[in-house]
Structures are given as C-alpha cells and as structure tokens.
Symmetry: C2
C-alpha cells in the first residue's frame, strides 16, 4: 500500500512580504518523513478568505492529509478557522471545551479571556481539538485537515500531539554519499544508478566548500537492503573518480 500523502498550507502575509522566514514546513517535512507520510506539496498563501478556502478545497481533495500553519490567533487578521469552516460548509462558534482550555491557560497568568481572545475558542462544527501545551488555545482537525498555529513553538507542540494519532506509513530512509567532484563528473554514473534501482530516488545536490566543488548524493527509499546496495555502488564509483578518501580530492565542474 502506498504511503499516506500530505500537503502543508502556510497562511500569512508576513511570509509573502519577506518579513518572516517560514519555519514550520521544514519541521513538518522532517517529522512526516520520519513516520512515513509523504509530503507532496507546500503552499504559502496570503490572509485572504477566498484564497484560503480555494487552496484548502484543492489540497484536501488531492492528499491524505492537509496541515495548516498560521492565522488562528485573536486578532482581525486571524481568519483561518472561518475559512476552514467555509471550505467544509459547516458552522463555527465558540465551543465549551476549547473555551475551557483557553480559560485554564489564561487563569494561570491571572487573566480571563477578552472578547478577542475568545475568538481562539471558535471551532468549526464537527472538529476535534488539538491540544496546545504552550499557550492554551487549541488547534483542531476536521476531516483530513489539521489546523495549527503559526508560532513555531506552538506548531511543534501541536504536531507532537497530533502526529501519533495519524496512521503512519513505511518510513522513507535515506543515505548520503559525498563526492568531492562536481555534479558534471558524476552525472552519467548517477543516471545509470537511478535507472538500475527504480525503487529508489537518487538526488544530486551540488555544494561548494572553499574552492572545492562537490556533490552530495542522496538515495531514498523504504528498503534498507536496496539502500545499502546503492551506497556500495556509489562508493565504488567514488573510488574510481577521486582515489582513496582523504588522499586526493578531485576538482571538477
């Protein structure tokens, strides 16, 4: 059975304006790889109701899971929960269990929720809550859409709570082999390897290290023995190209 698939929808003008460097998609990508859910798309959209609704409906139809990041705080620009309700065609209102979580967290800081803070307890009908151990206000899942905060520490905590509840796939493992030659000098051999081991993906990532042009080759797949086979073949190729490790680093384009 193929692995579950996923997309992440990042919601926020601040990413698109260049003010903020997005961080949650990278964290999510690593965590999903670990549990065997294949992240197939990352999409970043602005704080625009219609755009969010359209993106949600496109993504939730295409992938097993859609994770969202951002737009669930107390201010006027936090419009994700309403967009999710609209995408699913359900109502949304303050819900007692969400309100209780919020009140409990605020009580710990000697406060009670303002009207604006109560917006964070508005949950689409039929959703289940995702607990937020950092600041109280919960995320939620509805259908295959999982709605989480944009603040990285809260996103991480919500994902930690959510991920064990999702059906895992077969973890994708990877091995990396470093070549101290440029991509151009190893491209033919990689093409051949990729053709011979179609169950693996073979990625080639150039790097520079001072004057050295090198290539990191990453093989990915679920079959440990095949990965070891690929690494052995890559090491054999490397031996023909650059001599013993550490002896004489070839230089090339």
């Amino acid at each position: 059975m193929p692995n579950p698939t996923a997309a992440v929808l990042v919601i926020g003008d601040e990413i698109l304006s260049g003010r903020t460097r997005e961080a949650n998609a990278h964290h999510l990508a690593g965590e999903l790889t670990r549990v065997g859910i294949d992240l197939a798309e990352i999409r970043v959209v602005p704080d625009d109701h219609e755009v969010i609704v359209a993106a949600l409906n496109a993504l939730r139809e295409r992938y097993t899971h859609v994770f969202t990041s951002g737009g669930i705080g107390p201010t006027h620009d936090d419009i994700t929960a309403d967009a999710v309700a609209a995408a699913f065609g359900v109502g949304i209102d303050v819900r007692a269990d969400a309100r209780a979580l919020l009140e409990e967290a605020l009580a710990g800081r000697g406060a009670t929720p303002t009207a604006d803070q109560l917006r964070m307890a508005r949950i689409p009908d039929g959703a289940t809550l995702i607990v937020n151990g950092v600041s109280g206000a919960p995320g939620f899942s509805i259908g295959n859409v999982h709605v989480m905060a944009g603040v990285p520490s809260i996103f991480v905590a919500m994902l930690d709570a959510l991920l064990p509840t999702l059906a895992a796939g077969v973890p994708i493992r990877s091995r990396e082999v470093r070549f101290d030659v440029g991509e151009g000098r190893v491209a033919a051999q990689l093409r051949q390897l990729a053709g011979e081991l179609p169950q693996l993906t073979v990625g080639s990532y150039p790097f520079t290290d001072g004057d050295l042009r090198g290539t990191n080759v990453v093989v990915r797949g679920t079959d440990e023995a095949l990965l070891e086979d690929a690494v052995a073949r890559l090491e054999a190729v490397r031996a023909t190209l650059q001599g013993p490790p550490g002896f004489s680093a070839g230089r090339g384009a």
Copy 2:
C-alpha cells in the same frame, strides 16, 4: 493600476523530505516587495514532470510572473527545463549562446563540458537567457516564467540580473510598532484601526521575549503619509496600554 503579481515555484524532493531548508523564496519575497511586485503564492513541488507542468500552467495563468527555483543542473533529477518546454508546448535543445556561456565558464576551470553538463545549455525555443555570474550555466525566461537555479548563491545572482528587466510596481512600504503586551490586549484596537484605514494592511505577530509576551504590529501599504498616520495612532494606543516606553512593560495574554 494594481501592482504586478508573482508566484514562486520551488522544485525539489530535498525540500519536501526535510533534508534541505528552502531559502530562495524568502530572498525573492524581500526583493519583490522592494520593487513593488506582490508575491501572492509560494508553492513547493517534487521532481515530477507532470506535477511541475501542471503547477506551471496553473501559476502562469494566474500571476504576472512565475519564478522557478531548482532542477536546472546537469543530473538526471534536473527536469525543470523540459517541464517548462512541455508547459509551453515548445521544443527544447542545446542552444549555441547558452553553450558558449557554459564553455566559457568551464574553460576558466580548465575543462570542457561533458554530455551531462551540456544538458545545462538546453533552452526551450523562444526563451531569453538569464546570465549566471557564479557558475556559467544560464537560467532563462519564457513568457512570464523565469527559470532559475536552486543553489542559493546562483539564485541570488540570477535574480539580480533579471529583476531590473521587469516592470516594477509601487513599492510596498511597512512600519512596525512593538507592543509589550500580548495580542489579546491589543486586538480590539487593531481591529478598529484596520477598519479605519482600509488602504493599509495591519498584521499582528506575537512574540515572546523571556517572560514577556509581546506583539509586533506591522502596517503595510504604498502611501507614506497613511503609514505615518497609522504609526501615530498605534503609538497613541500603546501609550494608553503600557505607559511611557521603557517605564513599565505591561504583561498580558
């Protein structure tokens, strides 16, 4: 006249697996903001021909410009140029001017292009080249699609070459006002401000600084006087909430 719009399409399995942290979209976002082109969408897709073609066709129809990042190197997993040709329904082959640029760069390193390196001189029919002062192999523009390298130093260099050739819009300016109170304590005032100044966008970004919960408020727009007006109003709100700057930082949710 509204500003030109743009999307960036990042192509690469390594981003979606969590191996590599994407960097080019953030740089592009800042540069586009500077010249008044509104970045409206970031999309990351895998090294998959059909997926890339579909994304290109969706994005190039919707936005003034589409910038791509990644997949134009010499190895088997570099499939962007062919996908772009397919999306436009044009042919693609090694082109003399691109080949000359590549040969010149390699000659500087005492080398001539291998068959795999020559793949980097394959240019869709009708495209114009984007020079690459870092490693020689050019990017290209076809229609409203601008195809650039994924290696950040090369992406930056190509964008520096490309951006002055595109019609600029009215730069979006922004001002930031820091509140040493949480979002919940300033949400009502921000909602009011956003309603009174519909020509601006008002963004609210919570932060923590040790025990302090604070809120950075960012106003964005093209009209300098309106931005100054907004800042004055925000500073007035701040004075009512937290006293003189540096005197007594309010704490709140």
